[in-house]
Structure formats: structure tokens, C-alpha cells
């Protein structure tokens, strides 16, 4: 099958890590890696990998709209708001890794198929990619879910100035995502930064208040979900299996990154990249099917 051409807009850590992952894909080919500064670390990495680069930002796509069918936007929410109408006009599918929330949310393990045909897909937040699948399982297997809470702890080093400044948006977006997928109107998201050295891996705990929990169904649902997620995030591990104690359900997962461009402790960033690629590959497969 012929690979589908994708462009990556944003040459920071996320974009560069995404590039390395895409180079391994059977379905995707990175035809253009776009940043602003040719001497940046991400750009020189791309050049060393033999990938075509541009430092023209969004203009690179405007000038050559045929360069790709899918674009990963790894810039910022503010920039994505400007980019989105351009992608739409050019007929390019946008996979949005910023918190701009313009398109429908996607968690590949839950609603990958639903996003096919959308022109703009939002990847929610890194914590959301880790916690929402478990919240969804709770919603699917339990009756009368009263409350769902997700707590993520990430290493301080993996949170740059933009993440820190946008903590409020992270929390509110994650809460909204948990609500949507669990079906429970009462949710809470918490984010901790931990400065320990060596850096800790991302860890996410999901709690739920359920009057009469069906733990058997929950265990089965969680096991299946983890198997599904592992297809695109290989190191998504259950640390505390679903447990009912002190009137609450608790379970904890840990995500280690693959260590491509981002260090392994940045599992929080790795998971959103893996999820974004899963979406793009699904698009690629459906395009291939359409074209016979």
C-alpha cells in the first residue's frame, strides 16, 4: 500500500518526537517537517533523518497544499485557531495536538472509527489520553456512577513554560473529556508536578464513586482496554489494578515513553503522540480502502 503523506507543523519536542515515530509507520510518510528556525534542535534532527524541512510555518503548506493529506498541528492553541480554517479550505485533515478544542475529541481506544471523515480531530490532553479510557470503562461497566476523578502526576522536567501557564485549561479540558466519555456529570481532574531526580514516569490514578460496583465486569473491561491501548502505547501499565476500598474504586496506570526524541520519563507527551499517530493511520487505511 502506498503511504499517505503527512506534514508536521511545529518543530519543538512534540513535533520532533512525532516525526521519529512516523518514520516507523507502515501507513504514513512525513513529506514535510515545518518549523520556524532551521538551526533548532528539532529541525537539525529532521535534516539528519533526511526529511524535507521548511522554516516557513503555515505558509509552507499554503504554498504547496498538495504536500500532504494530513497535518499534525503541534504549535499552540492560539496558532491552531489561525491554522484550522486554512487546513479546512485546503481540504487537509488536521490532527490537533494543541488544546484548541475546535474539532471533536478522539481517544483511539474508544472512538477511533467515529473520527474518520472529520476534517479536524482534537487529541484532548496528555492526561486525558491516559485517564479517559479507564473512565470510559467505568461508565460502560458500572451503573449509577456518581463521580469520577482523575489525578495525573508528571515529572517537572516534562512540563515546559506553556504547560505550566496553561494548567487551568489542562484541568478544564480533561474534566470535560472525562465527563463526555464516562457519562458521569460530576468529574474532577488534578495535576501534580513532581521534581524528583531521576525523573518519575507519568502516573495517572482514576477514582470513582459507585454505589454497587461490579468489580468483575470492571476488571474484564480494564484488561481489554489496556490491551487495546497497548497497540498504540506499548508501555501503558497497570500499577494498581481496579480495587474497591474505603468506599471508592481506585486504579493506577503508569506510562513510560518510548524514548524517541523525548526522554522516557515524558510518557505524558509520548501518549498523546502515539494516539495522534493511531488516528492518522486509521485515516490512511480508510483512504487506501476508498482508493482500492
Amino acid at each position: 500500500m502506498e503511504k499517505v503523506k503527512v506534514a508536521i507543523l511545529g518543530s519543538g519536542n512534540i513535533g520532533t518526537d512525532l516525526l521519529i515515530k512516523i518514520l516507523r509507520s507502515e501507513y504514513l510518510e512525513c513529506s514535510l517537517f515545518i518549523g520556524r528556525n532551521l538551526s533548532s534542535r528539532g529541525m537539525s534532527k529532521a535534516v539528519s533523518l533526511g526529511v524535507k524541512v521548511s522554516d516557513q510555518g503555515i505558509d509552507a503548506i499554503v504554498k504547496d497544499p498538495k504536500c500532504c493529506e494530513i497535518v499534525f498541528d503541534c504549535t499552540s492553541a492560539m496558532s491552531h485557531e489561525k491554522h484550522a480554517p486554512i487546513f479546512k479550505e485546503l481540504g487537509i485533515v488536521a490532527i490537533d495536538l494543541t488544546p484548541a478544542k475546535l474539532g471533536p475529541f478522539c481517544i483511539p481506544a474508544i472512538n477511533l472509527e467515529d473520527t474518520i471523515g472529520e476534517m479536524n480531530v482534537n487529541m484532548i490532553t496528555c492526561g486525558g489520553q491516559a485517564s479517559i479510557p479507564l473512565a470510559w470503562v467505568i461508565g460502560q461497566t458500572q451503573k449509577n456512577v456518581e463521580y469520577v476523578e482523575v489525578v495525573s502526576t508528571i515529572s517537572s522536567k516534562s512540563a515546559g513554560p506553556a504547560t505550566r501557564l496553561n494548567l487551568d485549561e489542562y484541568i478544564e479540558t480533561t474534566e470535560k473529556g472525562v465527563q463526555m466519555y464516562s457519562g458521569c456529570p460530576k468529574t474532577k481532574a488534578i495535576l501534580n508536578l513532581n521534581p524528583a531526580e531521576p525523573c518519575i514516569d507519568m502516573q495517572t490514578t482514576v477514582y470513582a464513586k459507585v454505589p454497587k460496583p461490579d468489580m468483575k465486569a470492571l476488571h474484564k473491561g480494564v484488561e481489554e482496554m489496556i490491551a487495546k491501548i497497548r497497540r498504540y502505547v506499548p508501555s501503558y501499565d497497570l500499577v494498581v489494578p481496579p480495587t474497591y476500598e474505603n468506599d471508592r474504586i481506585i486504579m493506577t496506570i503508569r506510562v513510560r515513553g518510548l524514548g524517541d526524541f523525548l526522554p522516557t520519563y515524558a510518557g505524558n507527551l509520548d501518549i498523546i503522540n502515539c494516539a495522534a499517530i493511531a488516528v492518522a493511520e486509521e485515516f490512511a487505511k480508510s483512504l487506501a480502502a476508498q482508493r482500492g
Binding site: V151, I171, N192, E245
Partner: protein, 341 residues
């Protein structure tokens, strides 16, 4: 005579001690009593502050709105203070509500190395014309150089004071002297100290901070606070006055307020229990104590082993979920109690 500004954490840090189950009557009665005593700042809320009621750190009986409204109605002289941790509370969802309810002092807190998450909360507080303090929690986990760097950030954001919290009750007086004097010498804003009593140093460390140049001190009536409790407020005030400092607080009404807490609010008077002492030695967030006790019971392990293991993993405030994980690992023999043999 030198002035010291006393901030009363009874109705906030004390929440930890009763699993955040303060009632409206508790708040109304104590706020009235504190106000009568002329305590400058009365903090109210969930132990982890605004927007923190959660399964992770404990669900509170009352909502933030109920707590703040009740306190506001009963404070005339004293300022109403709140504690707020970015990552739990957002500006839009939580802080703006608190501004409307009439808080006066907003103490924006972060783990001691993460001050840059406080920029928006401090800015929003200043833009609303409220007093903003920066608070560095678990400060024993950072060197004085790091604390200064983080304090300078908070000062840049508009913090009008920097409060150093010994959240784990892990300091000895020399640690306090070393850090506070460095901060006082290099910051433009006044420095404050918040003690915990795990090693029995609550009052001693507060006085050391003062001698090192601190101008604000936190305390709680009868020491009503997380773990082994805080610096005991009435003792602190009495000692300060004896030493010739001016707090503006009247003794008899203060003692009445403390008696009220003991009779009406606290279930037991805080003491340095074995596990609190271990918590202080291990440098673990004091507010973990109730959660650790519950997990130790649930999984049949020694709470002291949980504390030492949490300390070894350098767990920070807000990471209460680690307690269950560690308790399970101890139960399953994946880790061994460090001091078991």
C-alpha cells in the same frame, strides 16, 4: 516593639485533622471567636485549599462556597484568607468565585520547586485588588538557593509576601535559620513561616524564623492541623508577646477561641503520635497521615513502613494515590519496610 503578622490556619490546616468535615457551626463559632481576639488573618477551607475537595486528598463536608460564606458573615476585623494550589483550583472555576465571596488574602501555593505554576493565580488575585501571598510547600525538599529562585518568581508575579511551609514538620531550627535568613536577605517582600510539629519543633522553629527575619507566622489553635499539628497559636502568641513582639491579638479572647476548638471542633487534641514522628523523619507531607492510617489498616501493613517508603520516593503533596500503591507493594513484599529489621 516589632510587629508580627499572625495568620490563623485553624479552619484550614485543621480540616486535615478531621478529614475535611468542618461544619457551618464550627466555622461560624470559631471565626467569630478569632475575630473577637483580633487575629489578623483567618484562613478557611479544605486542608489543601480551594477546589481541592476530591477523593485523592479527601472530600469535604461543605462546599468552598458554604465555607467562605459562613466565614465571611462572621468576620469583621479579621481578614478572610484562603489557600489555593494551581493544579487543583483554576482561576475561572474557583478563584473568581472566592473573589466574589469577599476573600481578602489569597495564599497561592505550589510545591517548593514549582513556583511558575502560580503566575496566573497570583496575577488574577492582584488584578482583583486582593492581597496575594506566595506559598512554597514541602520546603525541606529544596535548598535555600532553589527556594530563593522560586521566591523571586513569586515576587515577580506580584506576591506581597512569601510563606515557607515546613509541610512535613521535618525542619530543625538550624534548617529554618539557614533558609529564612537567605530569603530575607534577598527578597523585597516579607517572609513568613508555617510550622508543623512532627518533631516537636513547631514553636521553636517559628521563633527561629522570626529571629532570622521572618515577619509573618502561621499557627493553629491547639495546634489543630495536619499530622502532629501546627505551631500552637495561643502558645505562639503568648510567647511572642512575652518576648516583646506585637501581634495585635488579645490574650483572653484568643484562649477562649482555642478552648472552643478543643471542646467543639477537634475530636482529639493533636499530639506527636508515633506515625507522625516517623512522617516528620521521613519528610512526608503531614496531610498524608489519615490516608496512610487508612491504607495501613486496609492492607495490613505498618504505617511507619509506608511513611519511610513514601519519603524514599520523594512523593510531594497531592500524590496521595501513591499511598495505596506503596501499601499494596509492602503487602505483596515487592518492597520491604526500611526499618523493619
Amino acid at each position: 516593639m516589632k510587629n508580627v503578622i499572625i495568620s490563623d490556619a485553624t479552619l484550614r490546616d485543621g480540616s486535615h485533622a478531621i478529614a475535611h468535615q468542618l461544619t457551618k457551626e464550627n466555622i461560624a463559632e470559631y471565626a467569630k471567636a478569632a475575630d473577637k481576639a483580633g487575629i489578623p488573618i483567618v484562613e478557611v477551607g479544605h486542608g489543601n485549599g480551594l477546589g481541592a475537595s476530591s477523593v485523592q486528598v479527601g472530600l469535604s463536608l461543605l462546599s468552598d462556597v458554604e465555607m467562605l460564606e459562613t466565614a465571611r458573615e462572621n468576620l469583621t476585623r479579621s481578614k478572610l484568607g484562603i489557600h489555593v494550589i494551581p493544579g487543583f483550583a483554576t482561576v475561572r472555576k474557583d478563584l473568581e468565585v472566592a473573589f466574589k465571596l469577599g476573600v481578602d488574602v489569597v495564599r497561592v501555593a505550589s510545591h517548593c520547586t514549582e513556583a511558575d505554576v502560580t503566575e496566573r493565580h497570583i496575577s488574577a488575585t492582584r488584578e482583583h485588588g486582593k492581597e496575594a501571598y506566595g506559598v512554597l510547600m514541602m520546603s525541606h525538599m529544596a535548598s535555600k538557593e532553589v527556594l530563593l529562585d522560586e521566591g523571586l518568581k513569586m515576587q515577580s508575579y506580584g506576591a506581597e509576601a512569601l510563606i515557607i511551609m515546613d509541610s512535613a514538620g521535618a525542619y530543625l531550627p538550624d534548617d529554618v535559620e539557614d533558609r529564612i535568613s537567605h530569603l530575607v536577605a534577598n527578597l523585597n517582600i516579607p517572609v513568613g513561616f508555617h510550622a508543623h510539629n512532627n518533631l516537636g519543633m513547631g514553636i521553636a522553629n517559628s521563633l527561629t524564623a522570626l529571629k532570622a527575619g521572618a515577619q509573618l507566622l502561621d499557627g493553629a489553635a491547639r495546634g489543630f492541623g495536619a499530622g502532629a499539628g501546627n505551631a500552637q497559636l495561643e502558645v505562639l502568641v503568648a510567647v511572642l508577646e512575652k518576648m516583646g513582639y506585637h501581634t495585635g491579638i488579645e490574650l483572653y479572647p484568643l484562649l477562649d477561641a482555642a478552648d472552643l476548638v478543643e471542646k467543639k471542633i477537634m475530636k482529639v487534641v493533636p499530639s506527636i503520635s508515633s506515625s507522625s514522628l516517623v512522617s516528620g523523619l521521613a519528610g512526608v507531607f503531614s496531610a498524608f497521615s489519615k490516608h496512610v492510617a487508612a491504607a495501613a489498616k486496609e492492607y495490613g501493613v505498618d504505617p511507619r513502613d509506608i511513611f519511610f517508603e513514601l519519603g524514599r520516593r520523594r512523593v510531594v503533596g497531592g500524590q496521595e494515590d501513591k499511598i495505596v500503591e506503596v501499601a499494596m507493594e509492602l503487602r505483596d513484599g515487592k518492597v520491604r519496610g526500611a526499618h523493619a529489621e
